[in-house]
Symmetry: C2
Subunit: 345 residues, 2 copies
């Protein structure tokens, strides 16, 4: 995890440990006092230090909390560190018995897939395009867990885990850490000539159990979060140049593209096919969770770093040319809660 913090001090030449007022850790680990441990190991004595947990969107919860410490005037500089191991206790939704013995996340995603296929005629081949695209994008991500191209056929023929999802439709739990620095408008210019601004924040928790989503072809918390975020930023989906979408399973990206307004309801799979055919990196340029791996508490931070680098023009081979406005979508537990961030350079 310390290797995720070091590049921040490298990039921000004038940054010293003494500048950091807040250290938040984002994790599903059972380890206690992690924010203080990471602070001590990093030579930081922050005023505010604690862990944030909300399953898979812990990372963006940490970022929004850091934003609020700064916007409230309680702090000027905040470090948010996501850290997770591949056997994280956040992987199984033990408390959610709404699907009986089918408690692994693949079962809720399979139900989303079945419902979307039934209502909109989405096919297993459509779903395979998400993985093919995201694994291809991940080839240019030096931090990707996978680095292998998979054809549509490879994915179609990978091990079926449920009726609607195959092994290569799934993101993989993995070890991972990611860290991001937030600073106030006045201070940030001390550290970089290329600041990126958080201009929109939307969050929503509709429930903890799976049963409260209105229907399984749409993610209510994602729709509601995005409306608030777009409104706060004064932006629409059309204004977004590049986006990280929470593709825990391939079907999620298809539904999220519709729910975030990138395309109309039912047209998510055509949208993905077009991205694939034209090699357009607009959606999940780093390879998403499917290509990059899914270290739960680190994921939302890694997503935000990708958009940050895109808006700085520093995404190298992954760069979406001229990207000025980006979106991060990060969600938990069958999309019972979601975060949407709008970032601008």
């Amino acid at each position: 995890m310390l290797s995720s913090i070091k590049p921040i001090f490298h990039d921000a030449e004038n940054l010293s440990q003494n500048d950091i007022d807040v250290v938040l850790t984002s994790t599903n680990a059972n380890d206690k006092y992690l924010a203080n441990i990471i602070s001590e190991l990093s030579g930081i004595s922050p005023r505010i230090a604690h862990s944030v947990e909300s399953l898979c969107n812990s990372g963006t919860n940490g970022i929004v909390s850091a934003y609020s410490y700064i916007a409230s005037g309680l702090a000027d500089v905040a470090l948010v560190v996501g850290v997770e191991k591949k056997d994280s206790p956040g992987l199984v939704l033990e408390w959610d018995q709404s699907r009986g013995q089918y408690s692994h996340p693949i079962y809720w995603s399979s139900m989303f897939a079945s419902a979307h296929m039934r209502k909109y005629g989405t096919t297993l081949e459509d779903i395979a395009y998400v993985g093919a695209k995201n694994h291809r994008n991940a080839m240019d991500n030096p931090y990707a867990y996978f680095k292998k191209m998979f054809s549509i056929d490879d994915i179609m023929e990978s091990k079926p885990l449920t009726e609607t999802l195959r092994l290569l439709d799934c993101s993989m739990p993995c070890n991972g850490a990611a860290a991001v620095l937030l600073a106030s408008d006045e201070i940030i210019k001390k550290f970089t000539d290329l600041p990126v601004w958080i201009s929109g924040i939307g969050q929503k928790s509709i429930s903890a159990g799976f049963t409260k989503n209105d229907e399984l072809t749409s993610m209510t918390s994602t729709v509601q979060s995005s409306m608030v975020a777009y409104d706060m930023a004064g932006k629409k989906a059309n204004d977004i140049d590049v986006a990280e979408l929470h593709d825990a399973f391939s079907i999620c990206e298809i539904i999220e593209l519709e729910d975030l307004g990138f395309t109309h309801k039912g047209l998510g799979s055509s949208y993905v096919r077009n991205l694939y055919d034209t090699n357009d990196k607009k959606i999940n340029p780093r390879g998403g969770l499917i290509g990059s791996g899914h270290p739960l508490g680190a994921t939302g931070i890694a997503q935000t770093i990708e958009i940050f680098q895109q808006l700085q023009g520093k995404a190298k081979k992954r760069q979406v040319e001229g990207a000025k406005t980006g979106l991060v979508h990060n969600m938990s537990a069958a999309s019972t809660s979601s975060t949407v961030l709008i970032l601008e350079s």
Copy 2:
């Protein structure tokens, strides 16, 4: 834990579940997604929901985080719920090997006790006065874990656990929950005619391990937190009418009274003896952690509720007459981190 939330809806007649933008859970439990689970069980669909963990001062970390969401403009109303079981995994500082096999918190407190006795001549009888006072105060606290008077002799003769601390010098881990509602300046008047304001906030993390405190007769993080909090509120220790101090062990209260400026260094035990002899409830009127029990993640919230009720004039038999300005001190792990809040009516 739901029984800690219900009184809030009872007291704030105009409050509905729809008013609540933020639900934070403060806990050391390993259970995931607790803020969402508690929200669903309470009929709340918040925008922001996550758990906060920083060992024993998780509660005040949650309160300050809620404050920042409101002060930043991201939210108007926030509910902070602390919840813990008596066998909490936060009880043993597994990661701190700085005291070898002596990893239970009683060992760091014993080292503080020995150092204070050596430097200032504090006696085992002095230390017993803290427990006698706080157990007596707890008799008027309907939520106290203990409800029994103990004489100085009872405490002196209770089972010795180390050379300097006996069983009745220790707070007890217990089940517990506590919830507090924060709202913006504009909104709070909808819910109560007796608002209490957070006017000062100080927090500091000096380390995670025990070895960084400058000396063992003072708690560095507490001194630094209090300076920031007093400064923000424009108050001094002399202005404080009533205070909750984190008496995880009796010696802590003596040292904290000195570090928070209630008395001079070395005079903490005389200060406590005077409170006891005059039946003055100014310090730990609900009985502190020693009298009330110490449900880790709920403790900082229970402390804050006590000061809140004192400043509203609703503390019944515990009431410190005319209390207008109060202080909450909540700390973690050998005082490696502390929070100090100043509240005013």
